[in-house]
Symmetry: C2
Subunit: 350 residues, 2 copies
Amino acid sequence: MITIHDVAAHAGVSAATVSRFLRGRRVRSSEAIQAAVDELGYSPSAAAQSLKSGRTYTIGVVVPDITNPYFAAVVKGMESVTRAESYRILLANSDESSEREDDVLADMVRRVDGLILAPATERDRSPLNVRDAEVPLVFIDRDLKGGEHFDAVLVDNADGGRQAAEHLLKLGHTRIAAISGPPDTTPGRCRREGFLEALAAGGVDVSPEHDLIGDFREQSGYQLALSLLSLPEPPTAVFTANNLMTLGALKALHDMRVDVPGQVSLIGFDDLDTGPLLRPPLTVIDRPMIEQGVLAMRLLLRRLDSEYHNDIPRRIVLGTKLIDRASTAQPRKPGGGAATLPRVGKTRSR
Amino acid sequence: MITIHDVAAHAGVSAATVSRFLRGRRVRSSEAIQAAVDELGYSPSAAAQSLKSGRTYTIGVVVPDITNPYFAAVVKGMESVTRAESYRILLANSDESSEREDDVLADMVRRVDGLILAPATERDRSPLNVRDAEVPLVFIDRDLKGGEHFDAVLVDNADGGRQAAEHLLKLGHTRIAAISGPPDTTPGRCRREGFLEALAAGGVDVSPEHDLIGDFREQSGYQLALSLLSLPEPPTAVFTANNLMTLGALKALHDMRVDVPGQVSLIGFDDLDTGPLLRPPLTVIDRPMIEQGVLAMRLLLRRLDSEYHNDIPRRIVLGTKLIDRASTAQPRKPGGGAATLPRVGKTRSR
DNA sequence: GCCGGTAATGACATCGATTTCACTCGCTGG
DNA sequence: CCAGCGAGTGAAATCGATGTCATTACCGGC
């Protein structure tokens, strides 16, 4: 490996002078040094620079699952910012597990200047320890109990749920089901609450067997949708609280040969690239994705600037928007029975 | 920041002893040291360790676009390996640009022990410079001219193209179009060649205006599909060389109200999560995704092991598999005209 | 021709962890 | 009872880049 001393020797100056030259100060023998750098192909050791400066110019990003198109888009937005600011991204998945998240954070704290985290659950205490490590932390997508002291870029989940509810109400649905996310995550809790509140305000109660909790994964959307279909009184409309569960639910409806939206309307949270191409094109609650990543990274880099280091926490809340495609429609028989639905599971057979 | 010297002072020993203890050697005052570590919350500086050891335990991963579900899955596979081996991933997008790729690689070389790269093009010389930096490099998905000296995990692209062609031939298509990727990328070139060869072997020639080149992005699939539809003699079947272009083409077909597969059959390369749910469910050439990431990372970590450091390059080629869903069917009128297709673009109006 | 002031320079210490080397201590065997 | 061995220890060197500090070189002005 070529060091700054090799360059110095080659140019006939001291290492200190080479260092000064590289950092842009005026130096007598700049041509000789530049020539030596070019000839030897010198590039400074990042480890040595980090050790001396205490900065890594690296940002740690922890998301539950990079294959979720939402998080992939968020990370892409973040990267567009780090690139422009000569930072880099250390990426890890937590697989929706708080333990794994703890491990990853404990490791990252030693190697990054700042962290962006989409927490696995709200209960987790550990991320707060990050504070002791003096590494700034920004939350994205999901908040944390006791997380008010950190920057965050969130989405108005309750309002999103509300929009979904009002859309279904307007269509005339009264037997409505929700497949929500884990109640110990911000989006799991708030989307459900907003949804149920708006329904209640519209005079519609959701019966307990229509009020289901999933884990944000496709498989749980599939299973819970199946269980809804096997009910004596299946819903005429279903709200799924994230993109993957929407997909799972849609698969279940397909497999059971349920017509969407003829027999059951489906409205999801988070749009998909393939949303318009699905059978049927999905009606969803959409939110900015790339932009969310951009904002979170800007917030973090700003906080790394000593001038803003101790500013009060900033909490940005973005709005949601209904994209009305074709997976929702008026219920076939308003208030009617479930006669047109096939029976599955342990339901008494006809 | 707590250093090893703080711990040493606290435990009444020298820094050297603390270091030895932490690295698992026998030490007289292990309890005292452990207590000091716990009490102070010491964790060693990654920068100092890297400087001394010359290792970062970090792997650089450069992909064209993390929001492409294929690359997201590949990265996830890689991460499952790094996690188990206590490595980390530094991630960057090249945005399909060789210049950006050069920048990113030049930067990463200083901060990682090894690199995995899905090159933007084959023409690029730069990644070969990585060799000078003594940083092992593994190619994934795409190869490089002169890249034979590196490890690689590839896919039999030509065979995939062949499978697609044979599927269309078997259905009886004769007017067939291809939307390929850039000819200076491995998958762009090989998929097209395999496809055309197999068609030729089956006695079908692809006319020049049916032999189109895209850039692997959704937009180009959309545009090129539109242009195919505006031809005097539109194809009865289209092969799109990657997932995003398939999506773009499908959108174009939808927008033009072309029935798939009634009027035009569509077969893509790379499956999508939503593949089965699309309108119609997509027939595609599939390949292992997660596994490809796992294999590439294993190959790389193995090469970091000094024992295997100078082994001859390993080149793994995985097979592809046809998933026959519903976007392909027999042509409506074998050899017939384009009468059923709507005209778009500058085509003379009826 | 000499002085003062500024600009540029090199030796050295530093960041934190690890490793080498010479040394001490405690034990065993003769 | 002492030589000899091995385990365990701390001081110091090291990794590579950078900041400090004292020193040198150079300029104009008298």
